[in-house]
C-alpha cells in the first residue's frame, strides 16, 4: 500500500508546494530525513514518503530534494510548474 506522496503529488495547507517521491528511484539513502525530518520519513521497505502534519521550512525541503542522490523528490508549485529538479 503506497504511502503519502509515493508516486503521486501531495500538498499541505501550510506550504504552497506539492511533493512527489518516485519510489522506483528511491535507494533509501535517507539523507532527505536529515535535511527535512518533519517532511520525509522511511516506510517499512525503507522507501521515502511524505509525512502529514506541518512540513519543514521551504528551504530545508529544497535542501532535502537537492541532497537526494537519485533526484527521486519532485517539487511543484500549486500551478503544476516543476521547481525541482531544475
Amino acid at each position: 500500500m503506497k504511502k503519502y506522496g509515493q508516486d503521486t503529488f501531495t500538498d499541505n495547507k501550510n506550504q504552497k508546494i506539492k511533493i512527489k517521491i518516485i519510489t522506483e528511484k528511491c535507494i533509501s539513502a535517507a539523507v532527505c530525513l536529515i535535511q527535512a525530518p518533519g517532511t520525509f520519513d522511511l516506510d517499512d521497505n525503507q522507501i521515502a514518503y511524505v509525512k502529514e502534519g506541518t512540513w519543514d521550512e521551504l528551504k530545508n525541503i529544497f535542501k532535502a530534494a537537492k541532497a537526494c542522490p537519485t533526484n527521486a523528490i519532485i517539487i511543484e508549485d500549486l500551478n503544476g510548474n516543476t521547481l525541482w529538479p531544475k
Binding site: 504552497k16 508546494i17 535507494i27 533509501s28 539513502a29 535517507a30 539523507v31 532527505c32 530525513l33 536529515i34 522511511l42 521551504l58 528551504k59 529544497f62 537537492k66 541532497a67 542522490p69 537519485t70 508549485d77 521547481l83 525541482w84
Partner: protein, 559 residues
C-alpha cells in the same frame, strides 16, 4: 574439477615486483604505490572466501602482496595447494601484468580454472578475455555471492547466474537461455543482477582471510590491532565522475547496505573474538538517517562504544550536528571525507553535489562532536589553473589551522578507465598518455594535460601535504597528546607524511629519504606555510560567496 563437495578455491593476490613501492590494489577506489608500507583489507574478496567456505568449498587465502612474498615463493605455494580455482582481483594499472601471470599459470597449472574480478574487467571484460587465457570474468561488485554461484554451476550443474563471461565451448558450466555471445568466442551468462541482500552474507571469516596482515599498516588506524568492515555497496551518492567503483562495480541504482543490526552484530562478534581496538567501515559513504541513528544507539546501549573506536567514510554535507554528536557518543573517531577541491567549478564538474562553504561547515561539526576529520584532496584536474590549485591548498591550510581537520591525503587525479572523467578525457583529448597505457594510471605521474608544468604539480602536491605545518595546528597537536597511543600516532603520521612527500617528489623513484635534495625541498614546502599568503584571504572570500549564492538560490524557491 572434482565433483565432490570439497573443491578448493584460492583467493589470491600475486606479488607485484616493482621498485615503485607497495601497490595499493585491494579495497581501493583509486590505485597508488606507497613508499610507506600499507595493506588494506580486501573486504569483498574476504566475503567471497567466507561465502565459498559456507557453501561447502575449501577456501584458501593467498595475498602475496600483504604477506610480502616474492612471486616465485607465492607461485610455489600456489602449486603446492593445487587449487581447482584461483580468483584474482585486478585494476587498470596492473591488469597487463596480471594478463602475463594468468597466461603463465595456465601453462604451469592447466587444470586450475582462473577467475578475474574488479573494476577494470567489469568495465571492459572482452579486452581481458582477448589478452589472456582467463577462464571466467565475474563482472560487477557482487562477486562475494557470485563466485560461489560459479562454483556451484561447475561442481553441481546449477544454472549459472547472469553477469559472468566465459569461453565458447566451455562445457563445465550450465548456461541459461539468457546467454549472449560475443565475437562467437565468448559467452555472457545473462544480464548482471546486483540485488543480493547484503545481510545474507556470512560474517567475514577473519582467520581464513588472515586479518592480522591488515591490522597494523594502514594510515586510517590510530589504535591497533584494527580491522575493516564494509557495510554498504558502495556509496549512496554514487555520482562522482572520477570514482571508478561508482561507474563499474556498483553503478547508480545498485546501492545496498547492511541493516544497522547486522553491522552492529558483526562488530560485536569481531570485538569479542579478536579484541580489535579500532574498526574502519569502508563503505563508500556510511549509511545516514534513521539507520545511522539506530546503529549508534546499538553501540551506546550495548556499551560496545567503550570497547572499540570506529571510523567511516562520509559526505561533507550529509549530516547535521545532532547526528555528529550521536556518532561521537558511539565512539566514532576517524571520519574520512572526499573534499577533492576548493573550487566550485570543479566540485560541480565532478558531480559532488557539494558547495564550497559546506566543506568547512561539515568538518567543523564533526570536530565539535569530538571526531577526527580526514579529508582527501586531488590536484591535477585538466581544467584547474595553478591559481585554482593554490586555492585548494589555501583551504586545506585554513582547515588545519582552524583545527577542523586532523589529517589529509593528497593525490593526483587519475581518470580511471570506466569513469565518465576518462570518457571526457578521450573526447576532449586531455590524456597525456595513450588511453590504454594502463600502467601509467598509477598516480606516479599525471596522465592528463594540465595548464602548468608537471614539476609544479609535484611541488604543489608536496605543498598540499605540508599544509598542516602551521603554528596553531602543531601547538594544538602537541597539547592534545593524552597517552602513548596519541604520541605513537603523531610520530606515525609524521612518518607517513614524509612517505607521501617522497611519493610526490618530482624525481620519483630516483630519490631517497636521505637525499639532501629531498630534505631541502620538503622542509621548504613546510616552512612556506608559516607565512600568510594572498590565497589565504581569497579562499575566505570564496567561502562567503558560496554561502551567499546558496542563500540566493533558496530565495528563488520562496513562492
Amino acid at each position: 574439477m572434482k565433483n565432490n563437495k570439497k573443491s578448493k578455491v584460492v583467493i589470491g593476490y600475486p606479488p607485484i615486483e616493482t621498485t615503485k613501492g607497495v601497490p595499493l590494489l585491494s579495497q581501493n577506489r583509486q590505485f597508488q604505490y606507497f613508499n610507506a608500507k600499507t595493506y588494506i583489507y580486501p573486504m569483498v574478496p574476504a566475503y567471497a572466501a567466507s561465502m565459498a567456505q559456507k557453501r561447502g568449498y575449501e577456501a584458501v587465502w593467498m595475498d602475496g602482496i600483504a604477506e610480502e612474498l616474492s612471486y616465485k615463493v607465492w607461485e610455489k605455494k600456489l602449486k603446492s595447494e593445487k587449487p581447482d580455482v584461483l580468483m584474482m582481483e585486478t585494476k587498470a594499472p596492473v591488469v597487463k601484468y596480471h594478463w602475463k601471470i594468468v597466461n603463465k599459470l595456465k601453462k604451469s597449472l592447466p587444470a586450475m580454472l582462473m577467475v578475474m574480478v574488479g573494476d577494470h574487467v567489469t568495465y571492459n571484460p572482452k579486452e581481458t578475455m582477448d589478452h589472456c587465457s582467463v577462464d571466467y570474468i565475474i563482472t560487477g561488485g557482487d562477486y562475494d555471492f557470485m563466485l560461489s554461484d560459479l562454483l556451484d554451476s561447475i561442481t553441481k550443474g546449477t544454472i549459472l547466474v547472469g553477469g559472468i563471461w566465459g569461453r565458447v565451448g566451455d562445457k563445465k558450466v550450465k548456461l541459461s537461455e539468457f546467454i549472449k555471445y560475443e565475437d562467437n568466442k565468448y559467452w555472457i551468462s545473462g544480464p548482471l543482477k546486483q540485488a543480493h541482500n547484503l545481510d545474507e552474507l556470512p560474517f567475514v571469516d577473519r582467520d581464513l582471510s588472515k586479518w592480522e596482515l591488515y591490522a597494523y599498516h594502514n594510515g586510517n588506524y590510530k589504535y591497533t590491532p584494527a580491522t575493516y568492515m564494509y557495510s554498504g555497496k558502495d556509496c549512496w551518492w554514487n555520482r562522482c565522475t572520477f570514482c571508478v567503483w561508482d561507474h563499474t562495480l556498483n553503478p547508480l541504482g545498485t546501492y545496498r547496505r547492511f541493516s544497522p543490526e547486522r553491522l552492529f552484530n558483526e562488530i560485536k562478534y569481531v570485538v569479542d573474538k579478536y579484541h580489535v581496538k579500532e574498526i574502519f567501515d569502508d563503505a563508500g559513504t556510511l549509511f545516514v538517517g534513521p539507520p545511522l541513528k539506530k546503529f549508534c544507539e546499538l553501540m551506546i546501549k550495548s556499551g560496545y562504544n567503550k570497547k572499540v573506536v570506529l571510523g567511516c567514510n562520509m559526505r561533507l554535507n550529509a549530516l547535521n550536528q545532532e547526528y555528529y554528536d550521536l556518532m561521537g557518543k558511539a565512539n566514532f573517531r576517524f571520519i574520512l571525507y572526499g573534499m577533492e577541491s576548493a573550487n566550485q567549478y570543479t566540485l560541480d564538474k565532478l558531480d559532488k553535489g557539494l558547495k564550497v562553504h559546506q566543506i568547512e561547515e561539515g568538518v567543523r561539526m564533526a570536530k565539535r562532536a569530538g571526531l577526527e576529520p580526514h579529508v582527501t584532496i586531488m590536484l591535477g584536474y585538466p581544467w584547474e589553473t595553478e591559481e585554482m590549485a593554490r586555492n585548494t591548498i589555501a583551504l586545506s591550510k585554513r582547515l588545519f589551522s582552524n583545527g577542523y581537520v586532523d589529517t589529509m591525503q593528497a593525490t593526483i587525479v587519475v581518470p580511471y578507465p570506466g569513469t565518465p572523467l576518462y570518457k571526457e578525457c578521450i573526447e576532449k583529448n586531455w590524456l597525456s598518455v595513450k588511453s590504454d597505457n594502463y600502467e601509467k594510471f598509477d598516480m606516479r605521474r599525471p596522465v592528463m594535460k594540465i595548464p602548468f608544468e608537471e614539476k609544479k604539480l609535484y611541488e604543489m602536491t608536496q605543498e598540499l601535504y605540508s599544509s598542516f605545518f602551521t603554528p596553531r595546528y602543531i601547538f594544538r597537536k602537541i597539547i592534545s597528546i593524552r597517552n602513548y597511543d596519541d604520541l605513537k600516532f603523531l610520530f606515525y603520521s609524521a612518518w607517513k607524511i614524509f612517505g607521501h612527500l617522497l611519493d610526490f617528489d618530482k624525481s620519483q623513484t630516483k630519490i631517497k629519504w636521505w637525499s639532501p635534495n629531498f630534505i631541502i625541498i620538503s622542509s621548504k614546502s613546510m616552512l612556506l606555510h608559516l607565512f600568510p599568503k594572498k590565497e589565504d584571504k581569497l579562499v575566505e572570500e570564496k567561502i562567503l560567496q558560496s554561502k551567499k549564492t546558496e542563500m540566493e538560490e533558496e530565495d528563488d524557491f520562496n513562492i
